[in-house]
Point group: C2
Chain length 332, copies 2
């Protein structure tokens, strides 16, 4: 397996999991202070990483929640943002321009900011009421699984959170297992489509963020490959007509509530497509994770699978995932 360091995945997971008590303390603090609604805001992949948590809150509770791109927030405002709003932000670098400006905007309005950051001492960290620094810790989502899970628990929407959080200690090893189990399929995908002129990626529900992000932040940004991402229900309202020989189509299937939407796509693309690949989170064992929690982990499971595609593409195309032509290289 190329670029797969099992011990590093385990220690990266442990790095976050050992902050569990602190993350839960933050959740408890924001619940004790109280809030009227929730807002996820950031940019690009960092906001997409949080999409499954907006989804999780919507699916599990009656709380008002929304997501908004930082640039949009700055120009349009957010008509539900008050000092009673609880805001979640994320940035690996901690200095993404619009995200930092959005934090300033939000802070001026008196809202509490909880941020998930890749580095210490960042501009976003300084503006945040609370922050969790994951450094080399992965997956970043583990921070939010604990944070949002605990908030839902405190609000009465997630009774067995404590067991869920205990089992999350097994997540890093489970993701190692997913990586190993999916590598062959991912490698075949990479081999077959490394020179594809165009790919369609489809997903739904809590996999919409991961699919959107993989298409935009990995295939486009890191590998300079042209893609279209579309959600499973929307696929049938336009993109469907592109199905023909020679079109590379990939579907990521969730174990969450929208799975039937994915199943409908699967049936269609297998019938009418030729270059079709289905990556189903249900295909992978997650040792130490109870079945009833699996759907919430579909995003991190699919990311472990998609990561095998990108690592294999990186090797086969001899194109480092770190090279950029423009992003943070030129002014704009």
């Amino acid at each position: 397996m190329v670029t797969f360091d099992e011990n590093k995945i385990l220690s990266n997971g442990e790095y976050i999991y050992k902050q569990r008590a602190e993350i839960e303390r933050i959740a408890d603090c924001v619940c004790e202070k109280g809030f009227e609604n929730l807002l996820f805001t950031s940019s690009g992949g960092s906001l997409a990483m949080m999409q499954p948590f907006d989804y999780m809150i919507s699916a599990m509770s009656g709380m008002e929640v929304c997501s908004q791109v930082a640039g949009d927030l700055l120009l349009t405002g957010n008509n539900r943002l008050t000092e009673k709003t609880l805001v979640f932000m994320a940035s690996k670098s901690g200095d993404t321009k619009e995200t930092v400006e959005a934090a300033r905007y939000v802070k001026e309005r008196g809202a509490v900011i909880v941020s998930v950051l890749g580095v210490e001492d960042s501009p976003l960290g300084e503006l945040s009421t609370y922050s969790v620094v994951f450094k080399n810790g992965r997956p970043q989502e583990l921070v939010l699984l604990l944070l949002i899970g605990r908030i839902l628990y405190r609000k009465g929407f997630f009774d067995d959170y404590m067991q869920f959080a205990d089992e999350l200690g097994n997540l890093p090893a489970a993701l190692v297992s997913v990586g190993k189990a999916s590598d062959l399929k991912a490698r075949e995908y990479a081999l077959k489509y490394k020179d594809a002129p165009y790919q369609i990626w489809i997903g739904s529900g809590n996999l919409w963020g991961p699919v959107y992000s993989f298409a935009m932040c990995v295939l486009e940004e890191s590998l300079w490959m042209r893609t279209k991402s579309v959600s499973s229900p929307e696929f049938f309202h336009g993109t469907i007509e592109l199905m023909e020989k020679g079109v590379c189509v990939a579907l990521a299937m969730t174990e969450g509530p929208t799975r039937p939407l994915d199943e409908r796509v699967k049936k269609f693309i297998l019938k009418y497509g030729e270059q079709v690949t289905v990556f189903d989170t249900a295909d992978y064992q997650l040792p130490g994770i109870s079945d009833r929690f699996r759907w919430m982990l579909s995003p991190v499971v699919i990311n472990a699978v998609l990561s095998r595609i990108s690592k294999n593409l990186e090797e086969m195309k001899a194109h480092s995932l770190e090279i950029r032509r423009y992003y943070r290289r030129v002014d704009y």
Copy 2:
């Protein structure tokens, strides 16, 4: 000009505008009954057509509003939907499967449904509390400009609505003028890119719906052309790296609050791209429309421009916009 019947555009506009009193009556009724939040739900192009109105409410008022794809609503539910929710739905055929099911779902929960329909006696119409039938009337958005405008007025967020609504009587003629003024540019675009293997379309704010819809429901669904649509702020977080010779990139610029996001994209793509086209709603005169109302009309203005692209592509590619391979032709 190909496929451009000035008199038909005028009479199609008049068909809707003459329903103004009835549309305003509906707005008054739902306001008198009262509501706690608003939800736009439907599928594909019909939901995308309503996106500017979700945006308009968010930008002009403090009311809680969200949009959700009908298929998602059916499987995930909507945690803010109650009998106090005011729901807007749209369907040209009035029988789009998931949309009709979503209407049933919403109705069972006691919410008021206002629908915008292309035909009389449809399943969606039957499930709706109120409906407006536009038949051959165009643009469909005119129904919602009056409906949402009047609701905002009644709620105290749009003081000069009455003047706005009066001026909307000039909209059909203004759109004829936009069609004529944009045809040359649109035709050049069509000629240059009719065989493009791939197009990137970018837009923001109240033009996100139109751009998403043009890419998916026109270029993909009607013309079988591969596209990627991305919002102006998100373009910089991934898709930017695809900028190179030979990539067709088009930007639709709004006159709404997010215009600076479009300006940033414009500057970048003109500097680094080669096959770049900017369609700016500000370039077109709108006789009889006050400047302060123009931003709300950017969606219908851009659609008038984009329509010139699709009509010219239809002719040049000898590919009728009405042909489908799968949509409503095969079961799925």
